[in-house]
Amino acid sequence: MLTKTQKVDGAAIKKAIEGRDGKMLSSFYADDALVRVIDRNNPPSKPREIRGRAAITTFWDDICSRAMTHKVDATIADGDSLAFTQACAYPDGTKVFAAAMLELKNGQIARQTVVQAWDE
């Protein structure tokens, strides 16, 4: 597995996201990782939850199948915590902006919370 060789840090995440490399992204997560997404349709009291590596792999496969651009702007690392912002655009000009906070455990992502907003 790539998890043994690829260190999860801001630079690796930036490269995988901007390159729409779903396989690489999925490899960063622990088997029992949890991704929570909070947005206007999924409020903080009922966020959308994606549990486990299989579901997270599908999640990234779906996102990376989109013909869109991603730009990871700012990355902040503090011990086992990592945060970054991401600006994305669809071909018709629709924009999405997301901020993500990650908790690492044994070098893998154990928990991630994404807050996102978009043009509609």
């Binding site: 997404v37 009922k46 043009d119």
Partner: protein
């Protein structure tokens, strides 16, 4: 007119300006909207006609789209020739292949590499053709009320001609509603929306041309080539598309599963929308939909003004307004909340059935004083805490009110069971089949003491047989013959419920206390000019 408890969420949805964009498919512009930002894309392929802007003005449609866009990036579009998309030459209609390619054009414009497709009604064959043509771009397929061959499962050629004749002569009036959602024909708010939906989705000529084009649909040959996981949903008593259509698809599409649900209204945004959304969400996300947490048990009372045709417009309007005001006052006085108004249909909710029924009795009396007649339905069930009661409990109560006769308060047996000890009285009213419910529902008529022994019944004029209608006269004669309601119903080919209503009306008109008195009255009148 809207209720005074309109939820901010719904109001927000009604006015939320969703941006409409246009994709180029060949030289035709296809209008589309993108809602939500879920991790995967879901393309909704609509049926016969659609209008992207108008969908957001209907409660059921908005609810469906809000549910789907909570877990997906929902891509909506109007097919060429309909809604906000370019019109097409009705004499040279595009093939299903060309229309199917519009889906690809919209996906390209929206940056969707791979999407789940939801095809509803006529949108289903288009979605199937897409899935067979572009397997690499089809994540999954959900088909609602779909079919592979029009004439076999929707209507044979002769019925199609009759439908087209109706569409050509009465397009834009909402006349086609009965063909799609007979359960909503009496809902004036919805039928008015449907008429606009017709006008804003297609011109009369285009509608007839679209109907002919759909009649050519036959995608039976591509079914075996569909490799995407497929969910089929069909309402068991769908009036538009025979459920056998989906059973056939379930046998022919390799990786398909069929779920049949109760109901007869065909459009995906009518009937139990949440049930359909739950099934789609579970199928596409692999997780059971999280139920809306904020539901409470409540008693609903639907009050409608009975027989709207007898008064002149002006007098009608004055009395209707007066009754609406009285309704607000009385509902408040009985501790209830006015939750919604649809034309002459007023919906209120109460914490318990006793209060709802006492309010109903007060409303019936108030209506009489104002010079209108009421007909009411009461039911108990879970409703959403916020917003008007749009769920199943609300729809069942509306159906009860629609069935109630002049002055009647028709309630579910559950209401009577819960009101034990309240001093209210009930008479059995049989069992009836209600749309969306698996089992026939047991009903009761609420009888207040006042109803049986009116304290201040207006003095009736001297009873004259002439004030009875021809049908009522027939019923009186049969009562005089000693026949039961059931026997009268059989003889006159009426329902037991209708006979019961006739008897109640006869007693009221003649100011008589019982059937025996009516029989005696009939005997007195019988002669050369008797009833």
């Amino acid at each position: 007119m809207v209720g005074d408890q309109k939820s901010s969420g719904q109001a927000d949805n009604l006015v939320r300006p969703i941006e409409t964009r246009y994709a180029l498919s060949g030289d035709v512009r296809i209008a589309y909207q993108v809602v939500g930002q879920g991790s995967f894309d879901l393309v909704f392929v609509p049926g016969f006609i659609s209008n992207l802007d108008l969908h957001w003005e209907d409660e059921g449609y908005t609810r469906l789209l809000r549910r789907l866009s909570a877990f997906s990036r929902l891509i909506l579009f109007d097919k060429r020739g309909t809604g906000l998309s370019d019109r097409v030459d009705v004499h040279h209609l595009p093939s299903l292949d060309t229309r199917m390619d519009d889906v690809r054009a919209v996906m390209d414009a929206a940056g969707s590499g791979r999407a789940a497709l939801l095809g509803a009604s006529e949108g289903a064959p288009m979605a199937m053709l897409f899935a067979a043509t572009y397997p690499e771009r089809t994540r999954a397929l959900a088909l609602y009320g779909g079919y592979a061959h029009f004439h076999k499962w929707v209507m044979p050629p002769d019925r199609l001609e009759a439908f087209i004749a109706t569409a050509e002569t009465a397009w834009g009036t909402g006349a086609t509603l009965a063909n799609f959602a007979p359960g909503r024909v009496d809902d004036t708010h919805f039928s008015t929306w449907w008429a606009r939906f017709e006008r804003l989705s297609a011109s009369p000529t285009a509608a007839a041309a679209l109907a002919r084009m759909n009649a050519d649909i036959d995608v039976r040959g591509v079914l075996a080539a569909i490799s995407a996981p497929t969910l089929l949903i069909h309402r068991r008593n769908d009036v538009r598309v025979d459920p056998d259509a989906s059973r056939f698809l379930a046998r022919k599409i390799p990786n398909a599963r069929l779920v049949e649900t109760p109901g007869r209204d065909h459009p995906i945004w009518t009937g139990d929308v949440d049930r359909v959304a739950d099934l789609i969400e579970e199928f596409l996300t692999g997780e059971r939909a999280v139920g809306e947490a904020e539901r409470v048990l409540a008693a609903l009372l639907v009050t409608r003004i009975y027989d709207t045709a007898r008064l002149g417009d002006r007098m009608w309007s004055e009395r209707s307004e007066h009754f609406h005001e009285t309704w607000r006052t009385l509902v408040g006085r009985h501790g209830g909340r006015c939750t919604d108004v649809h034309g002459e249909m007023m919906i209120s909710r109460f914490d318990g059935p006793g209060r709802a029924l006492r309010c109903a009795a007060a409303l019936r009396d108030a209506a009489q004083q104002i010079g209108v007649a009421s007909a009411q339905g009461a039911h108990v069930g879970e409703i959403e805490l916020r917003g008007p009661p749009a769920g199943l409990t609300g729809r069942v109560t509306i159906q009860l009110a629609a069935r109630a006769g002049r002055g009647e308060i028709l309630a579910s047996r559950l209401v009577a069971d819960l009101a034990v000890g309240s001093g209210l009285h009930f008479a059995d009213a049989g069992r009836v089949s209600i749309d969306e419910l698996e089992e026939p529902m047991a009903l009761v008529l609420a009888m207040s003491e006042q109803h049986l022994e009116p304290a201040c019944r207006p003095k009736a004029k001297a009873a004259e047989p002439a004030c009875l209608t021809a049908r009522e006269s027939e019923v009186v004669s049969l009562i005089a013959d000693g026949k039961s309601n059931a026997a009268i119903a059989a003889e006159l080919r009426l329902s037991g419920h209708t006979v019961k209503r006739h008897v109640a009306n006869i007693l009221l008109k003649l100011d008589l206390p019982s059937r025996a008195a009516a029989a005696a009255f009939s005997a007195r009148q019988t002669g050369p000019d008797g009833p």
